[in-house]
Symmetry: C2
Subunit: 295 residues, 2 copies
Amino acid sequence: MAETIGFIGLGLMGRPMAKNLLKKGYPVVVHNRSRPAVDDLVQAGAKDGGSPGGVAEQSDVIISMVPDAPDVRDVLQGSGGVFEKLRRGQIIIDMSTISPTVAKELADEAARRGVMMLDAPVSGGEIGAIQGTLSIMIGGDEQTVETVRPILEAMGNPERIVRIGDAGAGQICKACNQMAIGGALIAVAEAYALAKKAGVDFTKVREALMGGFAASRVLEVHGQRMIEGNWKPGFKAKLYAKDYRIVTSAGAAYDSPMPASALVAQFVNAMLAEGLGEGDYSALAKVIFRLGGVE
Amino acid sequence: MAETIGFIGLGLMGRPMAKNLLKKGYPVVVHNRSRPAVDDLVQAGAKDGGSPGGVAEQSDVIISMVPDAPDVRDVLQGSGGVFEKLRRGQIIIDMSTISPTVAKELADEAARRGVMMLDAPVSGGEIGAIQGTLSIMIGGDEQTVETVRPILEAMGNPERIVRIGDAGAGQICKACNQMAIGGALIAVAEAYALAKKAGVDFTKVREALMGGFAASRVLEVHGQRMIEGNWKPGFKAKLYAKDYRIVTSAGAAYDSPMPASALVAQFVNAMLAEGLGEGDYSALAKVIFRLGGVE
């Protein structure tokens, strides 16, 4: 008999992820702050847990997928939360993107209650969540990762479900992911602006660069977005901004200087200041374009 | 009968490029500031032109491959240079990486003498030059590009020989190439440092990131260099520093602000200040590592 899975947080990402678990035949007990998502999942075959604690009572494995660290704390440590109802031997998987230091602290607290907790943030966006092809970066106990691997494979690409290291390592990896994307993105945006100002067709530049050392997924996908002026999300700028706050605070927490990422973070802030928070995060390029008077 | 090709500048890149022309059966007349490279090419079947002007006298198409704009000026505009001996209908291809504005100025001067000049900088490094698989980014007259395409195909990958636009566009594209690489490189270096300081194995991080949106050739190749601590060139840091001076001066010439690339340029300077100029340019990462006290 498959484990019963508790799923807390039925947003853009969580809702399709929970549905993919149902599709694989797992019994799923859900909770969400607002009601319509719960009704939707109940319609699809899930059970309403009533509260995070209620979900914990009825589940073997508890997954949380919420916006940020305070939300994870609320779900786990809050009144009526998961920790109040925790039983030895349960497993918690937090798939939210949060601070690595908070992830470690919560895993320690869960361990004191006899429960293994993994941090398992994802990348791949809403499309990856719907298609069940997410990349999942995991921090935590190796044996526990193997235990829950079939569950993760219901939501992610089996080849891209990687245990990175101990508790917090999944969140460090996600921070690295956002940093690598941000550095590539701002540089491609600046290159686009330079080409435009020099009267050069960036379509040709992108084509030439994709064959060589400058090739990247960012150049491929966001380079094309820049050409088309397409800023439809995708992954929302306001969530990327939250992720960059995690990046810079992780830098501070681990005494790790990051001059370029700190600069990117300023332009991510500028993107929100320009009212672009609900658009795709690649609109970071728009901030660079406006600086240069490039439409 | 194939056109006779003049080749001026037989350095790390020029020497194997000229040899590839010989291998394809082109008569080649060469010049180089220092003697041994000329002797080597003569041994391989080339003719010694004696001077840039001498090369121009005996060639239909004149290729220059020298370190920087002052060298190109010297070869073309200097005493005993190419421009002194130019005949209407010849073609000049400058494959050096130089300032886009200088490239345009020289193309204009050549045009006044009835000669088409292309800017055609390359990427792919010494290995690409030896294997004849360079990427070639071309600015200049479309018909002229088609005329010399077979010559360029002797040195580069046919699929990566791209006309970007009018005179100077090849150099703009090369600047964009270096910018895109630089932004990706510094961000990956910062991610590596963060992972290391947080006690996380970057090998795993790189593996996870390569499957997703952060995937890039820089992460693939230089991410691996960081893991191995391998800074053997490759492409020398001091040449990359020259390219970044072109990037930042192009930004100034075209009123194109580039906050991230300007920051990368500072760390490229720091790389030279640290005495890393003869190593691979990916040692930009070492500067970031030292900032963070990462080995």
